[in-house]
């Protein structure tokens, strides 16, 4: 079976500075794949480049199609969704309008059902549906950003730091929903600094350092890896030195 998303030998540069170097990754159908790594490792840059926001050197295929010449909008129409770190909501528009626009590329007849699904996943959004997006709490904004992306019926949803700055109880909620997405047939590419939580729900994992993948494998193996444990999970195996 070929992968849903496949990135081969990707390089992303800001001017002369290469932020991502020779990175390859795959996301299969019905998979949660996570990229963990410290701040500034290049995780966000990589997601932006896969989405087409930044130029990428290398090969990216999605559902069997080469993405090289496609704009962000075409990638969205193909079923690739990104919830960016800063969420990029329409802050002066209400929740319902934000969601409705999420289905901009979807047939009108399907959008109504999509909205009901999103409201079932995030009941809080239904309560707030007439409220401006800018007046929501951080957690609610994250839910809205995810809901808006889901309105576009993505095959693969890329989440950039969904837990950043949120209370632990909301983070738990969001991670639970990510696993529900997998069950409903949406693959997820999850970028997280909260490696412990991400590795717990992921199938596959990549560890990124200074623009390169230094480790990859099954999420459970990565979680058990001593070096990862020391660097990202915040604890050390007894009697062993870090690095």
């Amino acid at each position: 079976m070929s992968a849903l998303l496949s990135v081969t030998d990707a390089h992303v540069a800001y001017g002369k500075v290469e932020a991502v170097r020779s990175v390859s990754l795959e996301v299969g159908a019905n998979q949660i794949v996570t990229i963990v790594g410290a701040n500034g490792a290049g995780k966000t840059t990589l997601l932006s480049a896969i989405m087409g926001i930044l130029p990428l050197k290398g090969r990216v295929t999605f559902a069997g199609h080469d993405l090289a010449r496609l704009d962000i909008e075409d990638r969205v129409a193909m079923g690739l969704g990104l919830v960016p770190e800063h969420r990029e909501l329409f802050v002066t528009m209400n929740v319902e309008d934000n969601l409705e626009l999420g289905a901009f590329r979807i047939e009108r007849s399907k959008a109504k059902a999509s909205m009901e699904r999103v409201y079932t996943l995030f009941p809080r959004l239904k309560e707030r549906r007439k409220q401006f997006a800018g007046t929501l709490s951080g957690g609610e904004q994250q839910m809205l950003a995810m809901g808006r992306a889901l309105m576009g019926e993505p095959k693969l949803l890329m989440l950039d730091e969904p837990s950043l700055g949120l209370a632990p109880i909301i983070v738990a909620d969001i991670f639970r929903i990510v696993t529900e997405l997998r069950a409903s047939g949406v693959s997820v590419l999850l970028v997280e600094q909260n490696a412990q939580a991400a590795l717990k729900i992921a199938d596959q994992a990549y560890v990124m350092e200074l623009g390169e993948f230094v480790l990859s494998g099954k999420a459970s193996d990565i979680a058990a890896n001593e070096r990862v444990a020391a660097s990202y999970l915040g604890f050390q195996h007894e009697g062993e030195s870090v690095i």
Binding site: R69, M93, D97, L101, G102, R105
Partner: protein, 346 residues
């Protein structure tokens, strides 16, 4: 000053203010969606007005040919951009909107111009011609620069303004023109006399503002336009093309401009270069609205119209000076309210 004069000035001010409100709204819309400060808005006004007046006089307006020429340019741009992945559907679609449409309109214009068309036909043709010019101008002059800074877009905007003004002189000559009234007749209420034309201005302005409000509030494309204005990246991430939003914004702006022109050309003699000053007053209103607020812009436009009317009575030599001086306290207040100056990021 007696009440009659005052009421007359108020009426005059509101009539002009209504036009400035429409133009100001168009400026705010275009800026919010595309970051272009639309200096050629005034040319849309004169093109609409003078195309209408020329057609009504049974002559052939050059603007119809300009639309076709710009359309061909737009078609060439479309082909050039898609050169590596050309496919039949794209070529046919682009040819239909950019060449076939203006060619049909040109043919209709030639046909009708020869036989002094009725007012409604002249209005419809003028609106379509200017709308196409607006649409193709975006494709040719602004879409290729969409990613650049506000300053670059402003320079392009000034260039387009100068080019259109020069072409205006070529098409319409240096003589001023007036068009036939859309609604003739008049009636008096007390000491006030309402002409059919001034009522038309009020009616159309109100109808247009309501229509815009419905468009932005209720339709998916209206919401998509607002979304682009609020957050460009967010809009792209849900699949809204920035170019589509830009096209709709320019289409609306050119129709609004042309409509304003058609409404005022029966009242005032317009020259090929009159649009600039009219557009500038809409711009004053838009600036007072901070280039973001629609209601504030509309309210400011009425104030601009009233100030203009009263200053032309009291100090007609200084009427423009007084109108533009309105900006100084507003800018001063705004600069005090926003002390931190942020460099533009994109």
């Amino acid at each position: 000053m007696n009440t009659t004069i005052m009421l007359f000035l108020v009426q005059d001010g509101i009539t002009n203010g209504a036009i400035y409100a429409l133009l100001g709204l168009a400026l705010v819309l275009v800026f919010a969606v595309t970051r272009v400060i639309l200096i050629p808005q005034g040319e849309f006004v004169t093109y609409g007005a003078l195309t209408y007046a020329t057609l009504a006089a049974g002559q052939m307006p050059g603007t119809a040919k300009l639309a076709l020429a710009l359309g061909i340019g737009a078609f060439a741009f479309d082909l050039f951009v898609a050169r590596k992945a050309l496919h039949g559907r794209l070529i046919v679609r682009s040819a239909l909107t950019n060449i076939v449409l203006p060619a049909i309109v040109l043919a209709l214009t030639v046909y009708f111009a020869a036989q002094k068309p009725p007012v409604a036909v002249s209005i419809a043709l003028s609106l379509v011609i200017v709308a196409m010019i607006g649409l193709y101008l975006y494709r040719v002059a602004f879409q290729p620069l969409a990613h650049t800074s506000v300053l670059v877009l402003l320079i392009a905007s000034v260039g387009v303004h100068l080019a259109l003004q020069g072409l205006g002189l070529l098409f319409f000559g240096a003589e001023g023109q007036r068009g036939p009234a859309v609604l003739s007749g008049a009636f008096t209420a007390g000491s006030l006399r309402f002409t059919g034309q001034s009522l038309t201005v009020y009616g159309i302005t109100i109808a247009f503002i309501v229509a815009l409000w419905l468009f932005f509030g209720l339709t998916l494309y209206g919401k998509a336009l607002r979304a682009t204005a609020v957050n460009r990246l967010g809009a792209r991430l849900v699949g809204i093309r920035t170019t589509l939003s830009g096209q709709i914004a320019f289409l609306l702006a050119s129709v609004i401009g042309a409509l304003s022109g058609i409404m005022i050309v029966p009242i005032t003699t317009l020259y090929y270069d009159s649009g600039f000053l009219i557009g500038l007053k809409g711009f004053v209103a838009a600036i007072i609205g901070g280039l973001v607020s629609y209601p504030l812009t509309a309210a400011a436009a009425l104030v601009v119209g009233l100030v203009e009317a009263f200053s032309s009575f009291y100090a007609s030599n200084y009427k423009e000076v007084i109108v533009f001086m309105l900006l100084i306290p507003v800018l001063l207040l705004r600069s005090l309210a926003a002390p931190a100056v942020e460099e533009e990021k994109d």
